[in-house]
Symmetry: D2
Subunit: 437 residues, 4 copies
């Protein structure tokens, strides 16, 4: 096979002093941090859609990026070349996982049967490439938002025929993910929402979405797929409103439709900020409610209002995110999938390497920082001391739900004004800065 | 008693052609719309905090508004004069309801006992004024956010002593609301959230909030209070993040802590928009999930990022909100409480009348528009036709949860590409405009 | 020629009671308002890019819309069919103007020479169709943002060869606009800005932009083009930051580079709101500074953060915009160009009619409302009374720049605390609502 | 005099390994960086309003902070005690500058004469304390936004009497600033804008603001005040719209009213982000246009929509800001004034030290990073290479304004498609991260 990235060799760890922009300065896959290797903590995954199928188009212009593997008029040849390129990239970068939509890896045919056939042919090649490299899917998924049939939603479409099409597509995508040994399967409802309530029956649509996910759970059992199911929150874009708007909305939905046992959340940094929450907030909410699954690692631009899907390079966000993640027990089935794309002007193949190396190095550095924060225990001690009075008999009784308003009133009448203490936010922020290095 | 608003007489309905800015042009309390009087549909309430206690302060300056009833150095005299003024205002405006925080109507004393005593004295006067006028509380509530003791939260405070104080305050506020015949009781957790996760144990705080609300439910049963409990979503301000950030987050919380049977939501327009949702969206979400309770009627400015609490005058928002509300069955215990304040430059007493008359007229007009939309049935028909295929045997089977992915695949392989139909958003928006008049 | 919109006949004015969704209910082209016909006031224009070239693509999916005029594999045939369709549409709708980019009407060729040749061929057809219908360009422009060569800007590109290409394209587009009798020419610098300052020399880029516009002014003189030049503000998207971010930034730029005499502004509603300003604000700023030129009429969604380019249907925004415009003297060379697109689900040709009819009717209704507001003079009187003290000798002296700080101090020491008056915002908002009908 | 901060000694530089939270880890005043001491580069200033007068109030509650120096019922005693506390704080922190509003340091009296007298008395004490410590004002200013008389603006008020009052206040504040040896004087038009255009004459108000600033320039000459004048942009809050909305709007205004020679800009980070721009953007814009003056150093929270005025701790923002500042030649008369406040829960005096130490250390660290970036020259080289073609004869001719559209077309017809190059944003962001340490 031709090399698609001949200008880049295997990306190696060379340490912080390396001047090679194509070497890792912080990510050393085998280095142990808090008793586990970096690779096991971070479980990096490359996404297929942006990295290999994305060509720099935006609402004001078509693609700017020209790739050799697109140099054929036959879609299946392009699909195969792209897959070869992808595995060359994965291997050179040294990641263990990849993520894909069904339509990323194989072109949609004129009929579902044809699309499935295309998929089967590509999956066969993917299996070979996976065997050769040891790389597996972190998760697979179905693209239920690009084709015009899904313009009004997939599981929440006004037409049950579209619902059926989506179900058929998920069925196949789940089978393919299973066949490739995927550790999970993601549902992102890109068009499950509305543009105007004037033409929408929200209650009915939510019920249909519940039914769809139950059918997925049933099918998963039927075929014995052991991967974890995730739903992925996002508030808007492409819809004006998406039902899975944030972790809170997803948790409300999962509870109402009795799906909590079957789904965890796939948190994307940029989706959180579009919903008005920090990346860490969304993770913390998931940890507090036992629904943290996986992460789509990227970064938004809070001064623009759309999903910029930039590569994660902010040490603060990554450190705080990993700090919450590690305290929540770390990843089980999930990992850090770079759902990020190079900028439209970053047209060279080498830019893909810069981008991923930057993301991996940032998270590796953040992991070491978060690990130091945890080992030192300063933040944890501060927090536990702040809540210390809840560990007294009085506090424990309340927390256990055994106290009454009458007792509270009596206590207050006797004890008078509570003593209050500084929240010490500035000192804590300084402490955090002392760890950033 | 002195008159506090001598320049304004009883506000009367004079019809759309009236040139009197202090007359209703649309709100005719006894007019029947869809079989009920306007007053029964809209259940207008005046809020005590903004309208009588608000004096125009903002983060860059103290109050600008001078009121005669504040013209005493004795806080209890001020409190009594204010109450007289308030009931004069309620009566002249012709509303049936008012809403209050404990600390709005009576000043906080040096101790809880003193505060309670102050409250008792004022409540006695309030009962008299209520008897004289027939006006009652739509709901009462406790202010658990202004006093410095609540700076780190009330039910979610790091100190159980503060939790106890808050509980004691709610106990009393609930008793007072019961005594005054209030139709409901609201929990707005203004400081139940965090400024930084560096000093916060979110999971613990959420558990405490759950315990607090269960204690409230227990106490409600104990005293036989029959009013409806509401929680009120808001995403932020004064906190960086409030746990009850939107209707979705509230519904997730209520389900997790098994409180759905005891609480409905009090939706505030401006809180919805701060969370990135339209007023109608938040109402629709509540209707779809059976948790719609009451409404804080106001309007935000989407180009600024804080709670402006302006009076509702946008016919589109009010019409669409009422359209959803009416389709959801209308208010049972709730109503439209004007949680709105005059602008800082609106310093005259008459500005309070302009503001409320404008809000009431806007909702009255919106009610008549929404009623016409419902009677004509054009929108409802469009929506039901759009989803018509879900009423076939095929659709019903799916919606009932009796279909499988295998059947869906088979259907799709047989039927081929689904037919898609225009969402007709522009036509529907034109139709809406034709109703706005 | 084939009919492309056979399902729609000439759109007629039928008055507010018409039940035909494809008739005007408010726009009656010849009706006189404030002494001028509606058509002369509003100068409606249809944009070519969204209405004929837009097919519903968004960042998450390709087009959904299938048009008969695209039914050929030859780009020039498509271009000609599209132009026939466009003029059929213009004529049926009854507008007098259209707007276009060079690359909308004729496909880009392999070289500039080829592109120009394509353009010439289409312009010939356009002249014929213009002659047949009497419709002319409100303005023309060059697309300097879609082609990958412009990914780093056109006039602000790091490469002078790209600058040169852009200049050559503008040269031709200006010639074509002149040839078609266009009333103006617009510069929208879609990519004149940056994604990161790390690779950008802002000062240098601004200087180049200044040079570019001066070259345009020179060329305009050379060929005797009499149309008005406009620049169009937008803060971001596709760039992270666009230099012409709002009316203020444009006015600063025009002054610095001594271009004020040659340019006015083309204000787009949705661009204003993306910059944090209301539509009316941007117009008012232009009127106050003598730089109001033309309007891109559309509507954004303030709860999402990108340019939704929806059709204008909000009576408040349109009324207030026209109120400011009329007080500023109305359009001279400019007009209302619908830079708006049907939603991705509005896939039928008839949706284009619904959309434009809605926009035209909304502005027609807004025009009549604004005219009544002006005739009644209530708002103008309120404002002039509010500032009345500036019409005294004291006020006039200050405003004339003839007073000193010392005099001001003396006046204040003598006069004491100034009397302040209510801003009456709520009453004014009620007054506005009384006009909305 | 009593000590107000007895728990804190002089804050010393102890280096990065110090474990004392009340020592500098990075700020070593005398350390030379790029040929100047840190103190001379950064010119730190403490603001009087937040740090000594701010007590933690927010729109939902009064102050939470209790300070010993407020422990008197006599306002002038409080004012004096506060000044003693302030200079103790300045000295312990080791800053050279402070900033103040007239009404921060001395209470407003019943009349202007009384207010001025109060001011004179306090200024006398300030002069003594300045002599004792060597600390001087970076700038002074007048509070023209808190008093109710300014509710409708100061220089843009509908009443010329309010204009006169504001002028008298600025006259005195300028005199006082001169007397104290202040290096500058700031105009922040907190209420110079509008809440609704329905009651506003924007053009007239802008003209009055122009007249006001010209009167200030005249008075400055008259008294021989040599400090630099600054205007400070902010888009909104407390107004809905402030005329000086961002650096662009200010530059437009200064040019229109012929004030560019007399004013520079005081850029506040949080104001920039509220306007939708990064801190670095606003600085870069000022450098590009020769109007950079001084900096209000703080940090906003981009997920909330108001001015949070947090202490600056983000290394990215501070580094990029200083990188631009240093390339623009650094401060002449301006400096870094901490216009920042401790959080409402940070109630202890020591929190003020944590906050300022954190801010100073962050900027010191950022200075060293920015200096390394400049010394290494990698970013500058990348940028100059990216624009290298503008240094050829062809590029220089265009930039000099000597080229024509016809030449550009000829060049393009001859040369064909320009070569484009990657913007390398990801590589540059990785490079930046390598400097952050």
């Amino acid at each position: 096979m031709p090399q698609f990235f001949p200008e880049v060799k295997m990306v190696k760890f060379e340490g912080p002093k390396s001047r090679d922009p194509l070497a890792f300065k912080h990510y050393d896959a085998g280095e142990k941090v808090l008793g586990k290797t970096m690779a096991d903590h971070l479980r990096f995954s490359v996404c297929y859609w942006h990295t290999f199928k994305g060509l720099g188009s935006d609402p004001f212009g078509p693609g700017t990026i020209i790739r050799k593997y697109n140099n054929s008029s036959d879609p299946m040849t392009v699909a195969e070349m792209t897959l070869w390129a992808a595995f060359e990239f994965f291997a050179k970068l040294g990641v263990d996982y990849w993520c894909f939509h069904d339509r990323d890896i194989a072109p949609e045919g004129g009929t579902l049967a044809e699309s499935n056939k295309n998929l089967d042919r590509i999956v066969k090649l993917a299996r070979k490439l996976q065997r050769d490299t040891g790389i597996k899917p972190l998760w697979g998924t179905a693209n239920l938002f690009s084709n015009r049939r899904y313009m009004g939603g997939a599981a929440t479409n006004p037409s049950p025929a579209v619902f059926a099409y989506a179900a058929a597509q998920v069925k196949k995508a789940m089978e393919v993910t299973q066949e490739l040994g995927g550790a999970g399967y993601v549902f992102w409802g890109g068009r499950e929402g509305y543009d105007t309530l004037l033409n929408t029956d929200m209650g009915r649509e939510l019920d249909h979405l519940g039914a769809f996910l139950h059918m997925a759970v049933d099918y998963k059992k039927k075929i014995g797929f052991r991967g974890q199911f995730y739903i992925e929150p996002k508030p808007k874009e492409p819809t004006k409103h998406q039902y899975d708007s944030d972790a809170g909305a997803c948790f409300a939905f999962l509870q109402k439709y009795d799906l909590v046992d079957h789904f965890k959340l796939n948190i994307e940094a940029n989706h959180g900020t579009l919903a008005g929450h920090t990346f860490q907030h969304e993770l913390e909410f998931c940890v507090a409610n036992g629904i943290l699954g996986s992460v789509d690692a990227n970064r938004g631009d809070l001064l623009v209002g759309w999903d910029t899907d930039q590569f994660p390079t902010d040490l603060y966000d990554c450190t705080l995110g990993l700090y919450t993640l590690l305290q929540g027990g770390g990843f089980r089935t999930g990992g850090l999938n770079f759902d990020a794309k190079v900028r439209r002007q970053s047209i060279d193949p080498v830019d893909l390497f810069h981008a991923h190396i930057g993301g991996m190095d940032t998270f590796a550095r953040a992991l070491k920082i978060a690990a130091r924060m945890i080992k030192d225990g300063k933040f944890a001690r501060f927090v536990s001391q702040r809540y210390a009075a809840w560990d007294t008999a009085f506090g424990r009784k309340i927390a256990a739900g055994k106290a009454t308003f009458a007792e509270m009133e009596k206590y207050t009448l006797t004890q008078g004004e509570p003593r209050i203490q500084s929240g010490r936010q500035e000192m804590l922020e300084n402490m955090l800065n002392a760890y950033i290095s």
